[in-house]
């Protein structure tokens, strides 16, 4: 199945690059095919995310009868490593290798961890649920092995995504970066959607044996896809190897201070955190909200997620196009957050008499907003990074983004459960707890908008100054129009 998937993807890429969005990403040096191949690492990241947050979440609670709180704790474990993304990114920037490699060794290590986590995960979960003889064994075996499995997968995902994005940024010219960001995001989404469908179909008739097959199958698929993605991406380079050897070792703290010295960098990270938190809280709640508050069936709520993803895709497309033509990332992020607020408003109103149409419109709008916001903030991070500090900058982006998204998902569930457990009249209606969460999201998006305004005030023309620093031509980047190149 997975090999068929990558085969189909490859065919798709070969068949009609001109019909694909982001096709104009290819430069003479880096053809689109190679970038598409590289972006397969995002598919494995999406696969791991879906497996952890979606599929296993349900399987552990429903089929394995693990207490929901324990499941939540286990699934939150990978979050511990999210801040370490900064360190991983930095390490890949200053990596010393006789082969002149910087990114590939780290992506490979991350792949190993991902594989390892998946390889032991099914048995760890069975031990955790007291399957077979494990029921009589000591409890700590299940706890510790499941924790190790989730930590390994989490660490692997963080490494692969951070360093993979850095490699993608290395490969293309600055004016093409918005399109690479779009491509990477689309592949992440694609990986998530496809693997959610595949996992759903494969686990429909659950059995312990099937669980082992599915999770270990994803382990093999992860290694295969990542190997294929990495093949011949980073050139062996003796000149660079010599430079690496002679380079003065930089301290992490100095590099970090240097990064945050960039005008507006700190505010940018705050904006990313607030906005991602705001959008991220909705992901897990839309389906149960549709089911409980609006009476959607399971099949219909699954389509909701598809609708959300469609909105996000459109957002990526628009952001890629506009930013590729030289638009300012921050105004795009502002637009994204601005669309998200009425989106959540519509979702709240739908349970207060607005009806299903309002709900669907709201879902599409939030997806669109999240797409615009995510793309714009990642592009802004890439632009703000110096050429030799891309790993660190993307690590900082990933640390903030992954932490905020993970906290959002966790908090959304907690807030909902707390309100459900409250005996007051607030908890009486099915939609009330969800609406409280959606209100919180609106609040955070408003905070993000406020932060964007303070960012643009604090550093007037951030992108212009950055552009002048890095490019020999002091003219601002917007004048270059890479879309024409295609």
């Amino acid at each position: 199945m997975p090999s068929y998937r990558s085969f189909a993807l490859g065919k798709l890429a070969a068949l009609a690059p001109k019909y694909l969005p982001f096709a104009d990403v290819a430069t003479k040096d880096v053809p689109l095919k190679r970038l598409l191949r590289l972006s397969l690492f995002q598919v494995t990241v999406g696969m791991a995310l879906v497996l952890l947050v979606g599929t296993l979440n349900r399987v552990m609670i429903v089929e394995l009868n693990v207490p929901a709180s324990l499941v939540a704790i286990m699934l939150a474990l990978p979050l511990i490593f999210a801040p370490l993304r900064t360190l991983i990114g930095f390490k890949s920037d200053v990596h010393v290798s006789a082969l002149g490699l910087r990114r590939v060794p780290y992506i490979w290590k991350g792949t190993l961890y991902q594989f390892g986590g998946f390889a032991i995960m099914p048995f760890a979960l069975l031990a955790l649920s007291g399957f077979g003889e494990a029921a009589d064994g000591p409890k700590w075996v299940g706890y510790s092995s499941a924790a190790v499995a989730f930590l390994l997968v989490g660490a692997g995902v963080h490494m692969v995504q951070t360093v993979g994005l850095a490699l993608a940024t290395d490969l293309v010219e600055e004016e093409d970066q918005p399109k690479v960001v779009g491509l990477m995001y689309v592949m992440l989404l694609l990986g998530m959607v496809v693997s959610a469908l595949v996992y759903g179909a494969l686990l429909e008739n659950y059995s312990p044996g099937r669980l082992v097959q599915v999770i270990q199958g994803s382990a093999v698929a992860t290694v295969a896809l990542n190997l294929f993605a990495l093949w011949k991406q980073e050139a062996r380079d003796r000149v660079r190897a010599r430079q690496m050897e002679q380079a003065k070792p930089v301290k992490f703290r100095d590099a970090m201070r240097h990064l945050l010295d960039n005008p507006g960098m700190m505010q940018l990270l705050i904006v990313i955190g607030l906005g991602t938190f705001g959008f991220g809280m909705a992901d897990v709640l839309l389906e149960p909200y549709g089911g409980q508050a609006l009476g959607f069936s399971v099949a219909e709520t699954t389509k909701l997620t598809a609708l959300l993803a469609t909105g996000t895709l459109i957002g990526f497309g628009i952001a890629s196009r506009v930013l590729g033509q030289g638009g300012a990332p921050m105004s795009m992020a502002l637009l994204g957050a601005g669309i998200g607020i009425p989106g959540f408003g519509a979702i709240i109103l739908s349970s207060l008499g607005g009806g299903a149409v309002m709900f669907l419109a709201g879902t599409l709008a939030t997806g669109l907003g999240a797409g615009l916001f995510g793309h714009a903030t990642l592009t802004a991070t890439m632009r703000a990074a110096r050429r030799d500090g891309i790993g660190l900058a993307l690590g900082a982006w990933g640390a903030v983004q992954a932490t905020a998204a993970g906290l959002g998902v966790a908090l959304a569930g907690i807030v909902r459960d707390v309100i459900l457990a409250m005996p007051s009249e607030v908890g009486q209606t099915a939609h009330a707890p969800y609406n409280v969460v959606f209100m919180i999201e609106i609040f955070f998006l408003m905070l993000a908008i406020a932060a964007i305004f303070s960012l643009s005030k604090a550093s007037q023309g951030l992108s212009l100054r950055k552009a002048a620093q890095r490019t020999p031509n002091p003219d601002d980047i917007p004048k270059i129009n890479p879309v024409e190149v295609s």
Partner: protein
């Protein structure tokens, strides 16, 4: 044997490059081995065989 650091051997690699390639192989083998061991222990824990 390896007097010249920069000598390129018939493999197309210098000694240090070859050592680095080798280190990836060794690391990979170690990680895969540890994972396999752990996985087998867990399987034996849930569904013991030979026993």
């Amino acid at each position: 044997m390896a007097d010249d650091e920069n000598r390129v051997w018939p493999t197309g690699l210098t000694l240090r490059e070859a050592e680095e390639v080798h280190s990836y192989l060794i690391d990979g083998t170690r990680v895969f081995g540890a994972i396999a061991l752990l996985a087998h222990l867990l399987v034996a824990f849930t569904t013991p065989w030979l026993g």
